[in-house]
Symmetry: C2
Subunit: 550 residues, 2 copies
């Protein structure tokens, strides 16, 4: 037994042909007086016709463990759990508005998307995992269920369940929903065993699996399962998978496109997972249109589909949870607008979210000759963004800590507006007359005006405490920038080109000068302690400046 | 006298030293039984010390005219007015959602911005006009008053008025508002004579002058004039300038930043201009934040500052008037976000608005060594966008008529939403079950969701009747596109690269094939008569497709 490593007990017992998803097997693990109860699962038959029962457990602390298994099978035992070696860091947790590994080290997710990875051929899966190991990506969004969608029409290797009429969908040549229900209490063990092997290879390569539990792209009927059947499926999934540290639960992809699901269902699923998952894996839900309610207590982080990456700071402030733009369109050349952004724009969106202390997820959608598009089925990456995302990832990991948003002047004014008209009036009254009209326009915007106005801002900014500030200028092409810093210290200033992947020192040690005259100051901003650093810039898109206090 | 050519009568009379703005001079011009009354103006003294009085008149029809001048001076006369020669097209008028010249020919505005042009040195003005003559621009936004702003600090050659204390601001070395009021009833004739010479050179070169009557960037006090003083100024301006066919009235630049102005003032000014301008020059008002109310009856067209060019179709549908994005940020490398978009992005915004049948205005803001930035003071153009705008202008003029927006599926669904919940419910009930969830999300969006959603669309589309359709794909990089056309005709298909300035024929004559299966159809859309044309594309940004029925 080793800390952060999945521990598995295998027992034999009665062979079962149906209704084995919720088999009665419970294990209690005890260490240092603390008990943890986990459920076991049925894993098919061995060659002798015995039923195979398994219990999986993730020890999160070192020490001496004892365990006792009861129910359909019984067992007991004990073992010393060694301290994790340096390669094992445990599960990723949400800590404030960021992620950390169990051992306290930072985890900055740089994800990619291969929705139907687990339902591809062994050859394609192998190629995909090799590609991923040579990429910057440390997280992948992928589905349990097979996918039916444009560029996605292959049959899966295995179906997830037997049918309620007792037939095996694979054996009967089933290819689309025939009206019969899936028997979620009779999972197809072959599917799960293969699925786990794929996930293990990813997980052991350090890639977090943001596992999509439901999705709407379906011709087989999985998206229309009754709520009870969904819970049986989730129960079996948690029993099998939750002891693997590399899983995150993403309740759905585009939850709001699932016609069979009610808002209550998502609460039911979220609470079920929170209650039944012994380890508290990360848990969120992904939208097409309306963002999920990330303030729900079972939600650990915001999982956002949106192109409006400049809003990351607003979401961080609103949810007080980590924010991942898990879909911000894909680098590619499809006809569909979601699959035809340039490599530059993919990189631009990554920098915009990361500069604010949020995170992004990549996807690649080039018109295929063979129906194999990375974003759904994997294969090879041919886009221009991955190596720039690698550069960004190295850059973010090089910082002295996780970034938090620097609210721009506009955002700070909107904060006043949220407090109501009295606060707006007071702020305006306190302003110099010459800026009151200007500021009054901003403070009195209606909702659409505010949305349009804030989206049009171009500088994404974040800081690490008072140690460093990062400004990313996105689509702006400034020839110089002026940056406000605290007076009285010296600063190192670096200029970063997100596309050319260069990072150069502009000033090794610079003392800020006085603020330029006539600058606009937001209400509540104290400029007395501020100085200015002017940095010359190359007048092109995709540039950032990092200012670090010495 | 010649049709569309300014006709000027000069008379001498009593010399005036003050209060000559609203001098009592009225002229009645009569042709074919129709009378038009115009006011004259005082234009200083001649060498003999006589007052010079002028009446300007723009004959809009050919025929025999008689006139009679009464008031401070008297005159009468008659003349034959010849038909315009082919170079003179008369004033630009709003016709539906487009502009036409008086003679019926189309006018597509491709504007630029040189705010303080008339307040620069003769040398710089000359250089600017030479530049403009060699550019695609057929309209310029420029101010009457001098400008005080970042990169704009030069004194004007002349001030507009004498002061109320009787002093001449120019002679007394005045450089900023000293608390005294401007005497708008005593205009500085030197200013106006020079101003008219500059405007005439532009106008005679075929450049419309979108004349900004007020603006907030001011250290002299012009922006703070009392409402009555403003009306005196407008009265004099209309007497002097309205007989020149090339003027448009833009009540303000960033009207909402003018602290001294109330909403009622703009109505007062708009109605005053409508009543006093004998010719009905185009009239609008330009915002910083909140769009002006373009539904006002004195407003002839929408003058919009916004970066959100994809909304042009919404504005056209909302106002039923021509729409010009008169400020959509500037090509340049300033630190300010409004002055640092790339040349590509400037061109991209032009194509986006023009493809929808709206219009755009250019500006250029490169960091100067000498405080001379095109957008404010003129000089030379160094950006990459003007020659691409020339290509676009040639393209738009080559079409068989003015474009009107093709509402995208999303916009059509939003139209249903506007009709209320009953219409939404009825539309959803009429849809196939498999798209109802998807469509329901769109139809039930809140305002912010709708704003964000529509902004994220990428294809700007317009049509000329049922003769041709234009699709501009903006930042999308499609490798192929499918276009729906009416069945039963042959089509010519052209592919246009906005940046490389190429236009190539893909299909000389193509018969549309059947619609691809599974396409999403908006409520109310009839697909029975539609066929499909698939066009291969080069997988890069800035591409358009023109489909013309043969």
């Amino acid at each position: 037994m080793r800390q952060y490593e999945t521990f598995e007990l295998t027992m034999t017992g009665k062979a079962l042909k149906q209704n084995y998803a919720a088999v009665d097997v419970t294990a209690v693990f005890c260490c240092d007086g603390q008990e943890k109860t986990v459920s076991g699962f049925y894993d098919g038959m061995d060659e002798d016709g015995n039923g195979i029962y398994k219990v999986r457990f993730l020890p999160e602390q070192e020490g001496h463990y004892t365990w006792q298994v009861t129910g359909e099978v019984s067992a007991k035992g004990e073992a010393d759990c060694d301290r994790a070696d340096s390669l094992l860091h445990g599960m990723v947790r949400a800590t404030g508005t960021h992620f950390t590994l169990e051992d306290g080290s930072a985890f900055y997710p740089f994800g990619t998307t291969v929705y139907a990875l687990a339902n591809q051929s062994d050859e394609l899966v192998g190629e995909t995992i090799r590609t991923m190991k040579n990429s910057p990506f440390n997280k992948v969004r992928m589905c349990v269920f097979p996918k039916h969608y444009v560029y996605n029409h292959n049959e899966p290797s295995f179906y997830m369940f037997r049918k309620t009429d007792g037939t095996d969908a694979l054996d009967t040549g089933f290819t689309e929903n025939d009206g019969a229900q899936w028997d979620t209490s009779s999972p197809d063990i072959r599917f799960w065993q293969r699925f786990e092997r794929i996930c293990a290879e990813l997980g052991e390569a350090g890639i977090q699996i943001d596992l999509i539990l439901f999705h709407p792209y379906d011709r087989w009927g999985f998206s229309a399962m009754k709520t009870d059947a969904c819970l049986t499926y989730l129960d079996y999934l948690v029993r099998r998978l939750s002891a693997f540290p590399y899983f995150w639960w993403s309740m759905a992809n585009e939850y709001d496109l699932m016609a069979a699901r009610t808002p209550k269902d998502w609460d039911t699923f979220g609470n079920f997972l929170k209650e039944h998952d012994p380890y508290g894996h990360l848990l969120s839900n992904h939208n097409c249109f309306r963002l999920f309610d990330f303030s729900r207590d079972y939600v650990t982080h915001a999982c956002i589909q949106s192109s409006w990456t400049y809003r990351a700071a607003q979401y961080i402030a609103g949810y007080h949870k980590p924010v991942i733009y898990d879909e911000m369109r894909y680098e590619g050349n499809l006809e569909e607008s979601w699959g035809s952004i340039s490599g530059f724009e993919m990189v631009n969106r990554f920098w915009t979210v990361c500069a604010q202390g949020a995170y992004g997820t990549h996807g690649e959608t080039f018109l295929p000759e063979d129906e194999i598009v990375w974003w759904a089925r994997g294969g090879r990456l041919i886009g221009e963004s991955p190596r720039r995302i690698a550069f960004l990832k190295d850059f973010i990991y090089s910082l002295p800590g996780a970034l938090t948003p620097v609210a721009g002047m506009w955002n700070r004014m909107m904060e006043i507006r949220k407090k109501g008209q009295a606060a707006v009036d007071a702020a305006l009254a306190a302003m110099p007359a010459e800026v009151r009209t200007f500021a009054g326009n901003i403070l009195n915007m209606d909702e659409t005006e505010q949305t349009l106005f804030l989206l049009n801002e171009s500088v994404a900014a974040g800081k690490v405490g008072d140690v460093c500030q990062l400004y990313y200028y996105g689509r702006m092409c400034p020839g110089r920038v002026n940056i406000r810093v605290k007076k009285g210290s010296k600063y190192k200033v670096e200029r970063i080109d997100a596309w050319e992947m260069t990072r150069e020192t502009v000033f090794e040690e610079i003392m800020p000068s006085a603020l330029p005259a006539g600058g606009f100051t937001a209400p509540g901003e104290d400029t007395a302690e501020q100085g200015n650093i002017c940095v010359s810039m190359p007048s092109r898109e995709g540039m950032a400046v990092l200012v670090s206090r010495i």
